[in-house]
Symmetry: C2
Subunit: 419 residues, 2 copies
């Protein structure tokens, strides 16, 4: 029997590792707790009703159907038993491995304030995206039910916490929905007066970008109707709003885009963890003392890699592929190679015809950056059909300001039900 390679998690890291093993003499088993690979860079589009979920989610089983050495298992790993070389699944089933790739990524971190989670959902999974979409759309519905303008205001205040790429995209989209999509649909208020506040603890938006692009992004956000609050620390979140030291924002809808923590699975290895609970890896992505285990994507921390590897999709893909190649090498008796991240540039969109991009020293913004962003994202969406549907949805949205997925499946509940 060929060596058994188990891959935990089928995000970009896990999927690219599995594919890179397609012709290797191994038995691959991919375990994921959902049935789909998610194109996470566009998840904010589902959360803001621009795309239907299936447009950015592809069944893992379909993607790997023709890869005859790969088995897909729907399940959630609870822990890794490094001594017995097996993975324990959610129902106690075990899965033995000869080589293991950990690619379970990251989850939201509330910096020790887990009680904020209920009031300010993060955006990591489709389930998160549906929850945020529901809250945004229903906030406007509740506002239409509310005759008292003072009580209505918190329903029409949207706070996005954290001005990284996701936070900037979310804030821009909510502004676009209120300014354009919903125009003329309400009788008691004008949705264009909705307030969208983007709160960031650092002194500029998009901190990983060059300062000139941060400033351009801020200006574009303000022009779209987003109020940008920089250098402000959130000190409390409850059902009625956000506390920032002595200041308070009364808001029924708060989205958390501020912090990530590594998947808790990493801690079960028993090896040293770094910032955010990430697994400290050797330069070749293996885990110290366990050459049979490799860690990729957001879960991995490479302390010696300069500059640090960013937590973005291209990095996870490159690490996944690299881990697979190292496995092939060791099975053939060859040495492993250290991982080196190749930076092909960074792109962040802000809204309609507006984005910033950084390709090494070349900085672009506005319409040109937006076209680059659009091209890159459609190109990288896996599967021809998805790309086509996404293109149609976007072309339609661009011309009409409409959103394709303004659907809330749940029935009406009293406004108190979600705070």
């Amino acid at each position: 029997m060929n060596p058994r390679v188990v891959i935990l998690g089928c995000g970009f890291g896990g999927l690219f590792a599995a594919r890179a093993l397609a012709r290797a003499p191994v038995e691959v088993t991919v375990v994921d707790r959902t049935n789909h690979h998610l194109f996470q860079p566009l998840l904010y589009q589902v959360a803001t009703a621009g795309l239907a979920a299936p447009a950015i989610a592809e069944p893992i089983r379909r993607t790997l159907a023709r890869q005859k050495n790969a088995t897909t298992l729907y399940g959630e790993a609870q822990r890794v038993d490094v001594a017995a070389r097996q993975v324990v699944l959610e129902n106690g089933d075990t899965l033995a491995y000869d080589r293991l790739i950990l690619a379970t990524g990251a989850a939201d971190s509330y910096f020790g304030h887990d009680e904020w989670r209920a009031h300010a959902p993060g955006l990591k999974t489709l389930e998160d995206a549906f929850r945020i979409r529901e809250r945004i759309l229903l906030a406007f519905e509740h506002a239409e039910r509310e005759p008292d303008p003072v009580k209505r205001a918190p329903w029409l205040t949207f706070v996005v916490i954290g001005a990284g790429a996701t936070g900037v995209e979310m804030a821009g989209m909510v502004a676009e929905i209120s300014r354009h999509t919903l125009k003329g649909e309400f009788r008691r208020f004008d949705p264009r007066n909705a307030r969208v506040v983007l709160v960031e603890g650092m002194e500029r938006v998009l901190p990983p970008y060059a300062p000139d692009l941060s400033e351009r992004a801020r200006v574009q956000l303000e022009r779209m109707g987003v109020t940008v609050w920089l250098g402000r620390q959130v000190t409390g979140i409850d059902a009625q709003g956000v506390q920032l030291g002595g200041d308070r924002l009364e808001a029924k809808t708060v989205v958390w885009c501020a912090g990530v923590a590594a998947s808790p699975l990493g801690a079960t290895l028993g090896t040293p963890l770094g910032r955010g609970g990430r697994v400290i890896a050797e330069p070749d992505l293996s885990v110290p003392g366990h050459p049979e285990i490799q860690v990729v994507g957001d879960l991995a921390l490479l302390p010696d890699h300069q500059p640090p590897v960013p937590g973005v999709a291209p990095a996870a893909k490159q690490m996944g592929r690299h881990a697979a190649r190292n496995i092939i090498a060791t099975l053939a008796g060859r040495p492993t190679r250290p991982f080196r991240y190749r930076d092909y540039g960074q792109l962040a969109t802000i809204g309609r015809s507006s984005a910033v991009a950084m390709f090494g020293k070349v900085h672009i913004w506005g319409w040109l950056a937006w076209v680059a962003w659009l091209t890159a994202h459609i190109y990288f969406l896996i599967g021809f059909r998805n790309r086509l549907v996404v293109l149609i949805d976007w072309a339609w949205a661009y011309w009409t300001f409409e959103r394709a997925a303004r659907v809330v499946d749940r029935g009406a509940r009293p406004p108190e039900s979600h705070g």
Copy 2:
């Protein structure tokens, strides 16, 4: 101030009533417990992963945005206070009316066995469709996790109860998924061996159709791999399967398409109810003793109408439009007119290139009927964009056997959790 017309429910009946009032000197308020009008005839496509939800659901607010005399309210009516002429909403808010149109439709009925609901969900709302889609897709996932073929069999057995149009469509689609869509994606079993059983209490499928078409539909179903059990009464449903007198089907996935009951709102009028809890209406759709209240769609029972009005979308549309015209007539001091259903034909699809249709005495089947079905359904889907996306999804599905929406948003749970 113009007379206030309140419409409860925005299915086909409510929506067509609201639109027919667009130029009338009235204030229209449409109340629905979801934010969308649902194209229910294609709901089975969402439940079987063929279409994404937004393709068949249109925000009511968007549909009515340009109708300046219409207000959309997201809410659920709890009861009608006929004496005070007001509707009481879910949070106690009241809504006064001068004219009321009740269009809240029907829900599933388990014939007094409400304990079956948890094991055999029905198909009325998007939430229902997501639940069924999740169960069907996850059944195959659990089967792949199960090493014991005996324990695996119930995961690969799908029972559809009730062989009306929805039951026939569901059974045909599940067979197509297992025979074609999932082919080659599993390592432990061949999904083509999945068992799909359609159970019907009467002696033929599609009872409202002519007997020759019922027989053609049965033959087409069997050819697609569906086992059709006729004249069989369900006597029990539990987490492990279905009991039919002395016989038992061990099945983890059961779908209920067997019975409907009227929305409970009708009972709050205090007027006589007919079969299935429907409100007995006068020939002009008004409620006995309450000319200011009209009832349309699945909630209405017209005892004198021969043949009986079927519970289909065209009937609800016609009734909605008729109720609106009667309101316009009474406001102008003209008499109301009795409702008369116009039957333009009935269509039911079975699967790939297969359907039956009845236009008066003309009966067609097979490919020709399927094209008629496809044309009619795309034509009637509201909104240009939806039609286009649906067409693309279907054209793609037809050529590739793929399904566009094979997404389950929830994380893995032990198999016991649903069943």
